[in-house]
């Protein structure tokens, strides 16, 4: 790594929220208590598909301590969804009125003076259902005779997506070798440590305050306005500390909606916290998919054509499913140059819990198929696994036809580093092997499906008398460290120490709108906004220094480490804090305020910038029992300029733990629409003894679109692990595992199959 030319960027600063978190002072929605607060509980459908005939809450209302019961009929009955631009995809009525479409769907909510009373009251609500035939697999749901889940949606196909370039058939003709495979990708639960939680407090002057565990306070403010009939600005959403999101907490969920409806009815605060079981069965999950992949290559390994057909299990509602459907097809082409490419994706409704975005957004599924098939093709043709990738790798300036232009790209360097790492690792013991996967990922999305009128990110910098900077951002910290990242960028841009920066976020009353923490957008987008705001404030400050010293402001002055100086003669200057005081005097006692914003313009269809990586997973397999152990996970990683050092390491290791879970632990069987393991005994989350050592090799690139050359880090890193693990198994045993997560029983069965076929792969 080159020596750090920055003062604050890429140094091991403490997380700005760290002190509160390590002393137990951080207050999550889970902790919020308001005077007169009531407790809410949700009654859920036991059926995967049924018409609601009647709901009788008379007995529940009589139960001592119960204050209110609401059903869909007590609401505006709005069909909402997060893809607001497309009303046909806004298909979810929380507290459904006509029918239920998945087990666990909310049908009523109770508010009572204690959680226990609210829960007891649920048993007293009498719901009459007309049970309907259900279907929980997309390949069944797409058949003509399948039950129709949403009126008018033929074959239960709610969204299709198509990506194409080149002449695929012609390119297949040119190929020397063609291979096709089918894969089955499982779902995955976000499993945030803090379950869904909301405290809603409505007052009769039509003002609503909502504390909620969210990835985007602004989205929730806007969505709630839409479903409650309130003015957006009369809703205040507060999320100071959020116990994890991972893509599951920026859509409207029942904890928010039901708490708000109850609170509006009673003009009292109402708190709803999901149990862990509710979190498993009734929040949206990673999209399960069926993947068909056909790939044609030349015998020297040059990629010619790829065709993919994907059917995703959308569950009962759309959610963020449209994006996942597109991105899986888009990233399935990553990170290689394809002469011709065709993707057809079908999102199919089923009577199971809805699927949505989850860290990786369809790309982990895509890479599991693509990266494994590439290794199988390499094996079939006797080619080297690094060389075949290098030959076809994205490079800087490459245009993904009709989709994106790649600016910075460190993929080839990543391949070189991993190639060397594997060589250095040397010969491995029996039943142990290294598998690799390359990947690339977006740094925020370009398409405004939320239909927001605001800049995608905004920031305001206000400088106090003592030089402390109040940085107001809409970017939401959900643990990934965005508060710290913004503070670092602000400090660097302004030229001051990070101790001077106070970050304000997580409150729509005080912070500018920002689309929030999803799609790995905040470092690039909110970072750019923050940098712009800081530079605006700096420019205003330097006007006073310029007047004082008589230097030309633009070229001659700068601020670094709290020292305002002449660039040519750095010893000539003044302290930043003194300049701030001068500026206040000069501005009639008014503080300097800098403003910044960012919305990507003319950057292609998908994202303004792409991270790249190559990951090597070393795994050991017990060939008799099928049990896997991941020994090491090493990633060569290009995120442009690293900003938050501790944050980056944490994101890499955290992503690896979640992605490893997707690869071999987090089985989430749904049978007859029922989640079979909605608890932490039966749903396996990796623990400390099983977590492998993770090494990171940073590749130095500079992304022109990102603040200081930075791009995303943290979501892209969930893309390669399951694929790399599959490849490790392939190299250790010859088995081709086409289902994720890879469970030991599957491996044992695969060995049995292989034996039956006489050892042919």
């Amino acid at each position: 790594m080159t020596t750090n030319k920055y003062s604050v960027l890429n140094t091991r600063v403490h997380n700005v929220d760290g002190y509160a978190k390590v002393t137990g002072r951080a207050t999550y929605t889970f902790d919020v208590k308001l005077p007169g607060m009531l407790y809410g509980k949700i009654l859920r459908s036991p059926h995967p598909h049924a018409r609601i005939i009647s709901i009788d809450a008379t007995e529940a209302l009589k139960f001592p301590g119960v204050k209110a019961v609401v059903t869909g009929k007590d609401t505006l009955g709005v069909k909402q969804g997060i893809w607001r631009r497309y009303p046909e995809l806004c298909d979810e009525q929380i507290l459904t009125i006509e029918k239920v479409r998945y087990i666990g769907e909310p049908v009523a909510a109770v508010a009572a003076i204690s959680e226990e009373i609210a829960e007891q009251a649920l048993d007293l609500i009498d719901v009459q259902y007309e049970v309907l035939p259900f279907v929980d697999d997309p390949m069944e749901a797409i058949k003509k005779e399948a039950p129709m889940i949403h009126d008018g949606v033929e074959r239960n196909v709610n969204i299709t997506r198509h990506i194409e370039w080149g002449d695929v058939e012609e390119a297949f003709e040119e190929a020397d070798y063609v291979r096709e495979d089918w894969f089955k990708l499982g779902g995955q639960a976000h499993m945030c440590m803090e379950t869904r939680a909301t405290v809603a407090s409505y007052t009769p002057d039509k003002k609503l305050t909502v504390y909620t565990s969210t990835q985007s306070p602004y989205y929730h403010q806007a969505l709630l306005a839409g479903v409650l009939g309130l003015r957006e600005s009369d809703i205040r959403v507060i999320a100071h500390y959020v116990g994890g999101g991972f893509g599951g907490k920026f859509e409207l969920d029942a904890s928010q909606f039901c708490a708000c409806v109850l609170s509006m009815k009673l003009s009292k605060p109402v708190k709803i916290v999901f149990t862990r079981e509710e979190d498993f069965i009734a929040t949206k999950r990673r999209t399960p998919m069926y993947y068909y992949v056909r790939t044609g290559v030349k015998k020297d390994g040059t990629f010619c054509a790829r065709e993919a057909r994907v059917f995703t299990n959308g569950g009962a509602y759309t959610g963020m499913g449209a994006t996942a459907l597109y991105l899986t097809g888009f990233f399935h082409s990553f990170p290689y140059k394809w002469k011709a490419y065709r993707y057809d994706g079908y999102r199919v409704y089923t009577n199971s819990l809805p699927s949505t975005s989850m860290r990786g957004f369809g790309a982990p599924q895509a890479m599991f198929c693509s990266e494994q098939q590439i290794d199988w093709i390499a094996a079939d043709l006797g080619l080297d696994i690094i060389e075949i990738r290098r030959k076809n790798a994205h490079t800087s300036g490459y245009e993904v036809p009709g989709q994106a232009t790649i600016a910075s790209c460190g993929l080839t360097q990543c391949l070189d580093k991993i190639e060397q790492w594997i060589k250095d690792r040397g010969k491995l013991p029996k039943n142990r092997a290294i598998g690799i996967s390359a990947a690339g990922f977006m740094s925020g999305g370009i398409f405004n499906w939320f239909d927001s009128p605001y800049s995608f990110s905004s920031a305001v910098v206000t400088i106090n008398y003592d030089g402390v900077v109040e940085l107001h951002v809409g970017a939401q910290d959900i643990g990934q460290g965005s508060n710290t990242t913004m503070a670092i960028i602000c400090a660097e841009a302004l030229g001051v120490k990070i101790e001077n920066i106070k970050v304000h976020s997580g409150d729509t009353d005080h912070c500018p709108a920002d689309l929030g923490a999803w799609g790995s957008r905040q470092t690039l987008m909110a970072g750019n906004a923050t940098k712009m705001a800081a530079e605006d404030a700096k420019k205003q400050l330097l006007e006073f220094a310029s007047a004082k010293f008589g230097y030309n402001i633009i070229y001659d002055l700068d601020i670094k480490d709290g020292w305002v100086y002449n660039v040519a003669r750095p010893e000539r200057g003044m302290h930043y804090t003194d300049l701030v005081k001068e500026a206040l005097r000069g501005k009639d006692g008014q503080r300097i305020i800098g403003r910044g914003h960012y919305t990507p313009h003319r950057k292609g269809m998908i994202s303004p910038a792409y991270s790249y990586m190559v990951q090597a997973v070393e795994a050991e397999i017990d060939v008799e029992t099928g049990k896997l152990a991941i020994i090491n996970c090493t990633t060569a990683h290009d995120c442009g300029q690293p900003i938050n050092t501790l944050g980056l390491i944490g994101q890499l290791e955290g992503a690896a733990s979640m992605a490893a879970g997707y690869g071999y632990l987090e089985n989430m069987p749904v049978e007859d629409g029922k989640v079979m393991n909605p608890n932490l005994v039966d749903y396996k989350i990796i623990r400390a003894p099983e977590m492998p050592a993770c090494e990171i090799i940073e590749i130095d690139t500079y992304e022109p679109e990102g603040p200081y050359g930075a791009k995303e880090a943290g979501e892209g890193l969930t893309n390669p692990t399951a694929a790399a693990l599959g490849n490790a198994i392939f190299h250790a045993t010859g088995l081709q595992m086409k289902q994720a997560p890879i469970m030991p029983e599957m491996i044992v069965n695969a060995f049995k199959e292989k034996k039956k076929e006489g050892g042919k792969p």
Partner: protein
């Protein structure tokens, strides 16, 4: 149902509660005494975010009836710092960034502290990992936490160092 009188110590301070005997320790701490640092995250005693120390032993607050700790000394995350001075594990967590969303952090710190009290010189990283095996973390992947605990064991935060 007859309420029970409970007298116990939390962070060296004696408290008296008159509670329904089915009250869990974590409920007594959070709801009756206001120690909100300790969290709850599951219904099956699996996640460990409710970990506190009872007479120095790491225990899940969701799996202990409060009445069972009569006369005992409970330590919560709020009790790790002394007169505004952070416990070495807290300083180590800060230095290593051994937390992200922070929801598991209180419980994790208590397990770390209890582990180091019992095993001040762990023989290897795996022993540390086993020391926090009962605590789930969805954000960090544990390695930064292990580094933090190891740095305390190595003496980085010894007084005078």
């Amino acid at each position: 149902m007859e309420k029970q009188l409970l007298r116990f110590y939390v962070n060296d301070q004696e408290y008296e509660l008159f509670i329904n005997p089915k009250t869990l320790l974590v409920e007594a701490l959070r709801d009756h005494l206001g120690f909100a640092g300790t969290k709850r995250g599951c219904d099956t005693a699996s996640c460990g975010v409710c970990t506190v120390m009872v007479n120095g032993m790491a225990v899940k607050g969701c799996s202990v009836l409060a009445v069972q700790v009569s006369g005992m000394h409970i330590t919560t995350v709020e009790g790790l710092e002394k007169d505004g001075k952070l416990d070495p594990v807290q300083s180590a967590f800060l230095d290593e960034g051994a937390y992200q969303c922070g929801f598991c952090t209180s419980g994790m710190l208590m397990s770390a502290r209890a582990f180091l009290n019992e095993t001040p010189a762990p023989k290897d990283g795996m022993e540390i990992r086993r020391g926090i095996e009962g605590n789930l973390c969805r954000c960090t992947g544990y390695n930064s936490i292990v580094r933090a605990i190891d740095s305390v064991a190595q003496g980085k935060y010894r007084e005078g160092v």
